[in-house]
Symmetry: C2
Subunit: 472 residues, 2 copies
């Protein structure tokens, strides 16, 4: 595919800017119809889109059909939210007579669509985090035009999906600028997009390196704009002894499945396992290793990701104090899962071991006590998720563990595995750096809309504007 | 006063970190008691604190007594909010049986205190935006320890206020690290504070230059943290012809009062007045000029601010296409108000004229049409407020005006003047860059707490944690 020229990018952004007021003023019914129409169009083209996606991503039809379902569910979920008025949070404070500070004018708090959003598609979810994925759905629900930066990993799928979307925008009589798309294999197209003065916010899912580079551009603008980046995460799983004693084999199987799911190319893929040394944890690690050694994940998204995986695994393997539990063959046709092991002190002291290895690899840290496990967890910088097995009882130690888990992550699980992110109102997909650039926001779930709705107070506003919840 | 040493800063941050878990786990009653206790202590020391503040700021006892009242009102308001549970927003989604995407685990969305907050006091509000001002009150309400960076403009007042606060913290048996203070005249102390790894968020009120420098430090940390900066704002007032025809003289008087209030040292001081050329607007500008020429504001906060004011006013005065309507004497003992005038094209083309002149100065832009007034408004980068006079009727033009005002600001007023910021739940004190570094947050009003409460999803959480709304 040809990279978009600077003229193409400018035109896309200008069209989005021209559409912004009209689309912000669209009714809930119009937005819901668009979102549902996009879901219907995706489903209707399933037999074309899934093979395209498979050819470009190697993720396999089963996973890709499920991902398409998820994408449609998400679009329809945002439609429901908009119809329920979730995008129009509005509160009023009546005037109070008298002098300040108690006396005050009539004030209302509305939320307004922020304007054109630049949306960077991810490679690892060619439907759910791409052209019509959660970022696009939430921005449209908020009333913001979207300029999509297609991911170069699936150009044909991106174009086919975008063609469906533009047809739907046109059929519904919405402005052409409601959805625009640019494409480019290098960083230049993305940089030009983030720098464009019409862009009011950026949503990004991808690597720490790419995210940091684009965030720097967003901050360096004459008028900096919010950069919502979802970057890297090691998703610790901390197992307390009782959980492994009671249920070790099943947990080992479940965890191996989570580590290898989608060839480990999930943002919530567990990369760190913390256990206390005892007979049950030794058996658990043994079982986990056997399950990983037997797993045969599919090919990775592209050769660059495979090369990065092998390099990352080699870095861990060669690290002092790290024992290789499952050694994959780096030259195998498809990537082979890895399992490494180390002790608490080695992990805590090493920056290298805190970094994500994107792919089917995990590091077990075996500790000598609860406090040491807690210290390992606290050494993690920031993560999308923390999973705690066996921390259900209300004890002082478990409370310390929960506080530590909350301190470094955006989602704490008490059962199951972190892969699989439910699309609900309560979901939080975003944690402290480097898992997100804005840990107070989420990129999955209905609160994702809030990233594109800026609060504005209205003082002594006329009644028509109050009745319209501040939407002029 | 002696600058805090790096050892002092480290100790303050370490104490705050040590207090974080305990204070986050404090009950609503404990926090409310602290906040009310601080208000009572401030009021009890009024006869000492107000003269100290006046000696250090020149703001005068009337204003300073009012500001102390506002600060106490704010502390008590946050106490009420905490008692009402406003800091513990919590939502739950029940589990749904079946496969994803519809099937899902039980999820709850809680908010957790982010941890130690670095709070940079401002010079222009020695009570309300200083040691125990809105940033401190909202962080304490959220359950976060605060490390205060005292403003060097009022060191004695800062120390006296902090002494009251530490005594209250001690009396209530709260950890010493709940409130800490560091001080320093240069940027070094602030930089060291922002860089400290224990700091989890920064709240800042001050200049664009200082804010940008500190924001850069917050972003450059190994683990970047949110930087909530409230920087500069020109607060446009746009008057439509009918408003001036109906009520010009009263509006001119009110506006002159707002421009000169506190010697123009308010973040919401109006610096730009947009009128359409007609007889009424000419009379209005004439009256505004007369009122400003007759005003005699008190001395500015310190000599540096005065020098900056005179330099800023001189820059506007010497700008091509700008007419000086009220020329103050730059050598007068106290600053003399200025009024400048220009046309739409000159304003729109000039970056200089878009910058805030901190002090009692305003620029009138006279336009030839509604559309030209709208274009002038749209040329403003970002502002805390926009005031629209005469835009109450529900017309297409007024809707365009409201959308433009919402697009560049965080508060739109339809009557009155922008100085005076009510402390309510609906308030929004923060707009697009450069008025704020995080336009989605507010530094005044009860929503200010949200800056320090990070969402965390809890998946399949035990009931005790759900019952505690996620507070472990």
């Amino acid at each position: 595919m040809n990279d978009s020229t600077s003229h193409d990018i400018d035109q896309a952004c200008q069209l989005a800017a021209a559409a912004a007021d009209t689309f912000a003023a669209s009714t809930a019914a119009q937005r819901a119809t668009l979102l549902r129409g996009l879901a219907t169009a995706l489903e209707g083209a399933r037999d074309t889109l899934v093979p395209l996606a498979d050819a470009e991503s190697h993720l396999g039809p089963a996973r890709l059909n499920g991902e398409l379902d998820r994408t449609c569910f998400q679009l329809r979920g945002f439609a429901d939210q908009v119809e329920a008025g979730a995008h129009q949070a509005f509160s009023e404070d009546a005037a109070v007579a008298g002098a300040p500070p108690a006396g005050r004018p009539r004030l209302a708090r509305a939320r307004v669509a922020v304007g054109p959003v630049a949306m960077f598609a991810a490679s690892n979810f060619p439907f759910a985090f791409s052209v019509l994925g959660g970022d696009t759905a939430s921005a449209l629900a908020a009333g913001c035009p979207v300029v999509i930066k297609a991911h170069p990993g699936h150009p044909q799928l991106s174009r086919a999906t975008f063609a469906l979307a533009t047809a739907m925008v046109s059929v519904l009589g919405l402005p052409e600028g409601t959805l625009q798309m640019v494409q480019g294999a290098g960083i230049d197209v993305g940089v030009a997009l983030v720098r464009h003065p019409a862009i009011e916010a950026v949503a990004f899912t991808g690597s720490v390196k790419g995210g940091v580079a684009l965030q720097r551009e967003a901050n360096a603008r004459v008028r900096p704009v919010p950069f919502y980046g979802e970057l890297g995460s090691i998703n610790p799983v901390l197992a307390l002894p009782a959980a492994l004693a009671a249920n070790g084999p099943a947990l080992a199987t479940a965890l191996a499945g989570s580590i290898t799911l989608g060839c480990g190319q999930f943002c919530t893929s567990p990369g760190l396992v913390i256990v206390q040394d005892d007979a049950a944890s030794q058996a658990f690690v043994q079982q986990l290793g056997e399950a990983l050694a037997a797993a045969r994940p599919h090919a990775m998204l592209h050769d660059g990701i495979r090369a990065n995986f092998e390099a990352g695994a080699a870095r861990v393997q060669g690290h002092e104090g790290v024992h290789t539990h499952v050694a994959g063959d780096e030259d195998a046709a498809t990537p082979q899962p890895r399992l490494f092991a180390t002790d608490a002190a080695t992990f805590i002291a090493s920056e290298t071991l805190h970094e994500e290895v994107f792919g089917p690899s995990a590091l077990v840290v075996t500790t000598n006590s609860f406090d040491e496990s807690l210290a390992v967890l606290r050494a993690v910088q920031g993560s999308l998720t923390v999973t705690l097995w066996g921390a259900d009882a209300d004890t002082p130690d478990n409370r310390r563990l929960v506080r530590a888990a909350q301190g470094i992550s955006g989602r704490v699980l008490f059962a199951g595995v972190p892969t699989g992110v439910a699309v609900t109102a309560a979901q939080q997909h975003g944690g402290p750096w480097p898992s997100s650039t804005q840990a107070f926001s989420t990129s999955v779930g209905y609160a994702a809309m809030e990233r594109f709705l800026r609060p504005v107070a209205l003082q002594d506003a006329p009644q028509w504007l109050v009745d319209a919840k501040g939407q002029a």
